[in-house]
């Protein structure tokens, strides 16, 4: 007489699958027919039900406020100061210090942290269908806008922002080949706590803005028409994009572009960044890394 084959208990992976209805009928039957497997299954079930149990929930007022804040996400000039500007230390900054270094080193003596007045004007030219709009920093401030430009001014709070234009980075002409190179550098350097040594002339102001703790792109800069439109366009391309951590104007072969970088939270990897170079005129994608 052949000895009975020893009973094989199901492993935890299989038992968990049984619990979740992801196992085969045979495996389910095996679990049900074995006391030890049933006991282990019950143990896992207790844990699963505890995790899925009730959690404390914000009160109605808090809930309403959170939803209202989210609804205003379509109006970043309102939302950003109350939500995004409160962020503490951000690890992405050193990486973008590297970005600034590489990009700016490739550009020829461009003014960094330039006055924004021209940027607003550029975007309004774009909005008005002016295909000859360039990234050249204009000298006129918002107070010097033409009648047509004034007509294109946003109203209300947006207008108030435009009346006090914040500085915007203008990287000048950039080389897309170098863009790939710097994107690789960014990924390698992501998470560095110490600022990189920056020796390229003219880089220091931008690098300072990107040091740890500098936070996200300031609300007023995010709300700028060009940045805002292209940020939205980038997010439509990739819903997983995290906070906007860098924004700048530049040009590629003379074509005005907006350079945006987002933090990207990844489940399987350290946080990374996604870099977009988008045409200023219509936010079409020129390059992405």
């Amino acid at each position: 007489m052949m000895p009975a084959e020893p009973h094989r208990h199901l492993d935890d992976d299989t038992l968990s699958g049984v619990l979740d209805g992801e196992a085969s009928p045979e495996e389910g039957a095996a679990a049900a027919g074995c006391d030890k497997c049933s006991a282990r299954l019950a143990r896992l079930r207790q844990v699963a039900q505890a995790v899925g149990g009730p959690t404390p929930s914000p009160d109605a007022a808090r809930r309403r406020a959170m939803i209202d804040a989210a609804l205003r996400a379509e109006e970043p000039e309102i939302v950003a100061p109350t939500v995004l500007a409160t962020r503490p230390h951000r690890r992405v900054a050193p990486a973008w210090a590297a970005a600034a270094a590489v990009i700016a080193a490739g550009a020829l003596a461009v003014p960094l942290l330039d006055d924004l007045g021209g940027g607003v004007q550029d975007q309004e030219q774009v909005a008005a269908g002016d295909s000859e709009a360039t990234a050249d920093p204009p000298t006129a401030g918002p107070g010097d806008l033409s009648v047509a430009e004034q007509d294109a001014q946003p109203s209300g709070e947006e207008s108030a922002l435009a009346a006090r234009p914040p500085p915007e980075r203008d990287l000048g002409e950039i080389d897309l080949d170098r863009l790939e190179e710097l994107a690789a550098t960014l990924r390698q350097d992501f998470g560095r706590e110490q600022p990189l040594e920056l020796t390229a002339p003219g880089v220091a102001p931008a690098a300072e803005a990107l040091r740890p703790g500098a936070g996200e792109v300031p609300a007023e800069e995010r709300s700028r028409p060009g940045v805002h439109a292209c940020e939205e366009a980038a997010r439509r391309r990739d819903a997983a994009l995290g906070p906007l951590v860098y924004a700048a104007r530049a040009s590629v072969e003379g074509r005005p572009v907006v350079v945006l970088a987002f933090e990207v939270a990844a489940v399987e990897a350290p946080p990374s960044t996604r870099l977009f170079v988008l045409a200023a005129e219509d936010c079409s994608e020129i390059a992405a890394e």
Partner: protein
């Protein structure tokens, strides 16, 4: 969803309200304390609003929203740069109570808890926690979780199993005594 995508603010409001509770619960279990959970929920809601135009309907809206939410939670955890801290909110049912409510196979057997659920969840690696939470809070099947986390289904299975086993150990959940007469 389509109305919200077309700019109907009331529809968007309704959509957020409808999904708020589940999103917050995901964040609460992922972050293990109220403050971080609130922050992550806020970020998730904003990401949903901003990214709504990119939602193409290939997955269920809840699946897409939960993906956005998990990313917001992971982002929040990294941003805070610390392990999730257990919450002592008196309004929160204790882990022991939760375990009793769900009913052990042998109700008379005491469930010895060494750590509360928040602290136990905080012991799990974030990617393991995400799989467990998406299953037990989000109610997603393994295929959906695999899509949300962008990992193979087999990995989902092993992470959920590993996470639950670890939680059981941390919570001190013992195997019920088996009856006699069947294979042991």
């Amino acid at each position: 969803v389509s109305a919200a995508q077309e700019g109907d603010r009331d529809a968007l409001d309704t959509l957020l309200q409808r999904h708020y509770d589940r999103l917050h619960r995901l964040c609460r279990r992922m972050c293990s304390n109220d403050a971080d959970a609130d922050d992550a929920t806020q970020e998730a809601l904003m990401a949903v609003v901003r990214g709504l135009a990119s939602y193409d309907g290939r997955a269920a809206f809840a699946t897409w929203a939960h993906r956005v939410t998990v990313n917001a939670c992971l982002d929040e955890l990294r941003r805070r740069g610390r392990r999730p801290q257990p919450c002592d909110d008196p309004a929160l049912p204790s882990s022991a109570a939760a375990l009793h409510v769900v009913g052990a196979p042998e109700p008379g057997e005491a469930v010895a808890l060494r750590l509360d659920l928040d602290a136990a969840l905080a012991e799990l690696a974030p990617e393991v926690r995400a799989a467990v939470v998406l299953r037990d809070v989000g109610g997603h099947d393994y295929a959906a979780i695999a899509a949300i986390l962008d990992i193979p289904i087999g990995t989902v299975r092993s992470r959920i199993s590993r996470g639950r086993s670890r939680l059981a150990d941390l919570l001190g959940v013992r195997n019920p005594s088996p009856p006699s007469g069947r294979p042991t």
